[in-house]
Every structure is written in C-alpha cells, then in structure tokens.
C-alpha cells in the first residue's frame, strides 16, 4: 500500500507535466496536419462563439467533419517535388555530417581510450567543453572563420585564383553548413565511441599481432567490428539533431544551404501555414524515427549474432 503511494507520489508530478507540455502539444501538432489553415494564418478554428450566449461552441460534428478536416496539406507535399527534394537534401547533409564526425571522432576517441588513465578525464573534458558553450556562439565563430576577411578565405582564394578561377565565397554556402554541423555535433560522436573503445580487451590485439596480423588487419578485423555499437550510438546522436537543424543553415547557409528545418520555421512563423508546417514536422519525425529504429535494430541484430556465435 505504502509502496503504491510512494510510486504514485514520485511519478505523477513529472508525468503530468510532460503529458501536458510535451505529449499533448505533440498530438495537437499531428492533428493540425489534417486541418485547414485559418484566414489570417494559423489554423481554421473548430469552435465559434455563439452570438446569443457568447459561449464557445464546437462546430465540428460527425456529419460535417469533412468541412474541417482534410488531406490537402499531405497532397501538397506529394505534388510539389521541391519539398521532398529539400528533405532528401537534408537527409544527405545529415548523413555527410555523420560520416565526417565518424572520420574525425574515431582517431580522437581511440587515442583518449588508449591514453594513460590520469589524462583520460581531462582529454574527454576538453572534447565536451565546447559543447557547453552557447550554440549560437559556436555558429557565430564560424561566421568569422569563413568570412571573406578571414585568413582561411584568403588562403583558399589565393590558390583558387592562382589556378585562374573566380574567387569563391565560403560563408553562406552548403559547405559552411556542413562544417558547422560537424563542429556542433562532434562531441556526440566522440563520447559513445570512447565509452565503447575503452572497454576493449587489449589482449585480443596483442594476440592478433603475435599471430602475424598487420596493424591494418588488427583494426579492420578486431577493433572496428567491436566498436560498431559505439559507432551506431554516435551516428544516431549526430544524425537526428543534424537532420532537424534550422539555426545553422539559417545563419550560415544562405539560400543554397537551407534544410527542412528552415522550411518548417518558415511555415510556422512567416507564411503561417500551420497545417503544412505540421505535415513537414511529421515528415521530419518520420525520418528521426526511422533512423532511431534503424540504429536500435542494427544494434540488436549484432547482439543476437554475438550470442549465437558464443
């Protein structure tokens, strides 16, 4: 009895809060995708004020729901290839970001995991620290670094003009978006990779070396397969937020570099076509769920295979 009371007292307050301020808004947004936009943006109301009593009346009934609910916004998404193309482009940006993060994060995580114990915490802290500085500041820093006045821009343009091409601009391009996405998400890749690599049994590598495996073979046959759970976890942690990013392309991407998040922001704040914005958000959620499911399924499959082989 007391046990039940304790459980109830502990879990209800946070549960109630999150149902009201997370679950309910999410469901309302899903539902909004099936509604009509309002005359002045937003949503067409489902209720109206009764002129006689001044009370709110629900206008939608079982007979007339077709006047209030529609698949129009979904049709628009399918009819106009532009939106799907932008989504595919965003998937591509997120994939590229993930791959670069693996390429950059792997050596770093490996090195930290193989360093003497007393340095590990510091090296790890140095990876996490930039993540805790304000997100906008990190984007802004790249505005300076990639700006036309920067040493990097000047150096690149020196080379480019030497080969007889027009000078290029780095800022407000897809290139800037990818660089910044990698920068913002790199710690998310290093942490799970490190957690995995740290647990590896070094005796395996020594044994392989004794048996004549080259450094390359030891990596591809032992370290890499064992580290895959860490790679998948890191990939999910990078890919998911990168896919939904709107601030990076908004600030640093120009017109060429926009992603699906920019379109969602535009629908909600500028065009104010909420039903279509909701449809786009559902598409983004779908992409996120797909990726999360994929990472979980691959992880589980590997585990099963491991159990089978003893």
């Amino acid at each position: 009895m007391q046990e039940r009371l304790g459980k109830w007292l502990l879990s209800w307050p946070p549960l109630a809060y999150l149902v009201v301020f997370f679950l309910l808004p999410s469901l309302i947004m899903m539902f909004a995708a099936f509604r009509y936009p309002g005359d002045y943006g937003g949503l067409m109301p489902l209720t109206s004020e009764d002129p006689a009593t001044g009370k709110l009346v629900l206008d939608i009934t079982l007979d007339n729901w077709r006047d209030y609910l529609t698949l129009e916004s979904f049709v628009r998404l399918v009819d106009e290839p532009l939106y799907i193309e932008l989504f595919i482009k965003s998937l591509w940006y997120a994939t590229l970001t993930t791959l670069i993060c693996i390429a950059m994060g792997y050596p770093l995580a490996w090195l930290i995991a193989r360093s003497p114990k007393k340095y590990r915490d510091l090296m790890l802290l140095l990876v996490i620290l930039p993540f805790w500085s304000n997100f906008l500041i990190r984007i802004y820093a790249w505005m300076i670094l990639l700006g036309p006045q920067s040493a990097l821009s000047k150096a690149i343009n020196l080379v480019v003009t030497a080969f007889g091409h027009e000078p290029v601009s780095l800022l407000f391009t897809p290139f800037a978006v990818i660089v910044c996405l990698v920068y913002v998400h790199l710690p998310f890749m290093v942490l799970p990779l490190y957690a995995n690599l740290e647990k590896h049994d070094m005796a395996l590598l020594d044994a392989a070396q004794d048996l004549g495996a080259s450094a390359w073979q030891r990596f591809w046959k032992i370290t890499w397969p064992l580290s895959l759970p860490g790679v998948y976890a890191g990939a999910a942690l990078v890919f998911i937020p990168a896919l939904g990013m709107f601030a990076v392309p908004d600030i640093i991407g120009g017109t060429e570099g926009i992603m699906i998040g920019n379109l969602i922001k535009q629908q909600f704040l500028e065009t104010r076509d909420w039903p279509f914005g909701a449809v786009l958000s559902i598409m983004l959620t779908g992409g996120v769920l797909l990726m999360a499911g994929l990472a979980a399924a691959v992880g589980r499959g590997k585990q099963k295979a491991k159990q089978k082989h003893g």
């Binding site: 502990l10 307050p13 999150l18 808004p25 140095l126």
Partner: protein, 258 residues
Amino acid sequence: MAKRQSWWLWAAAALAYVFLYLPLVIVVVYSFNDSKLNAEWVGFTLDWYHKLFNNREMLVAARNSMVIGVVSALAATFFGALAGIAMHRYKLRLLPFLVLTPIAIPEILMGVSLLIFFVLLNVTLGMTSIILAHVAFCIGFVAIVVRARMQGMDNSLVEAARDLGATPWQAFRLVTLPQIMPGILAGGLMAFTLSIDDFVITFFTAGVGSSTLPLQIYSMIKIAVTPEVNAISTLLMVLTLCLIVLVSKVSPGALRAE
C-alpha cells in the same frame, strides 16, 4: 599497456582539438580587438564590453535570461528529481519515454508543437511560455543525472534504516535524499545552463518584450558581424565555464551522464 601510438594518430587528434577550440579562441581574442572588422589584430581595447554594458536591450535580455534560467531550473529540478528517483525504483513505461524523448528529438519539433499549443490555448507568448517550455526539456537532463546517482547509491543503507524502524518518508528524507543531493544540485545547475543557452525552443515560444540573450545574439548576427557579439559571447562562455566547474565540483561525472 601504454604502447606508443603512431604519429598520425596524434596528428589527427591534435587537429580535432584545434578544430574544436580555434573558433572559440578567435571569438574571445577579437572581443578585445580595437577594430570593427573581425579580420586582423589591431590593438587591445575594452570598448566592446563598454558598449555592451550600455546596450539597454542587451541588459533587459540578460535579466530575462536570468529570471527564466532560475525559475525553470528550480521547477525542472523538482520534477526531474522525482522522475529520476521513480525511474530508478520502479519499472515504468510511459515516464521514461516522456522524460527521454524531448532530449532525443530535434528541438524544432518541440518548439513548433509548443507554439501551436500556446496559441490555441490563448497563452500570451512571453516569459511564462518560455519558462513552461524550458522546464519540459530540462526535466530529462535532471532525471538522467539523478537516476545515475541513485544507481551508484548503496541500497542496503535504506534497508538498514527501514529495519531500524524508519518510516519510508523518514528513510527517504534522512538517508536517500542526502546521498543523492549532489546529483540533484548538479542536475539543477545543468538545467540552468541549458535554459540560459537555449535558442531553438525559446525562438518559437518567445513573444514581444521577452527577448533572451541567445535571441538577442541571433538578431545581432543576422544583421551584421560586430565585435559586440564577441564580447557578449566571451562573457557567456565565462559564465558557462564557471557553471561547469561548479557542476563537476558538486558531482564529478555528472557532465558525462548524458
């Protein structure tokens, strides 16, 4: 065990560290640069900081950020600590899902759904809506830290207290709570940091006159790159750094819990 690593591995790691820190260092250095352009070093000045402290909008934004940060951190600590304890003690399904999903999904999804929610309920967008939104995404971070602390706790102490006749409430208040207090404190500081730094969710739930520091920075860098932004960025970095040091003093390992 400490085998020598090949030089290229060191080079790759060093490059990664340079990649992580160079941008931030440049922001800090140029905040003291006596030039309007973030291009080359001209000379030392504190002008940009001076300008900053005379910028009324910035000061209002800083005050808003502080109020929002403190209130949401307090509320999120309360809800998050309860959730963390509950998730450790009982096998729950819905609560862990609701606690962890807001952390896992792109922030923009939470931002737009809360925007619709507040507008449909006729809640005026402003400080209140921002705080309600911040609490919702901070609960998860506090819960994770507190749960990790609970997992590291020796359960036999609570059992001993119960055997010696303590009521569940007494056992909780006198044994469990003091033990997990560092976790709760660390979670609260983390929530404060996240709230102060949040841009995306704030962007969608803010209204007229409720600008925060990140929103102010956003509107400044959308117009032009000015060293004033470097100055506010440097100050924010120092503040965050202090908070991080505080968190790691209070509860080592909390930062890595996520």
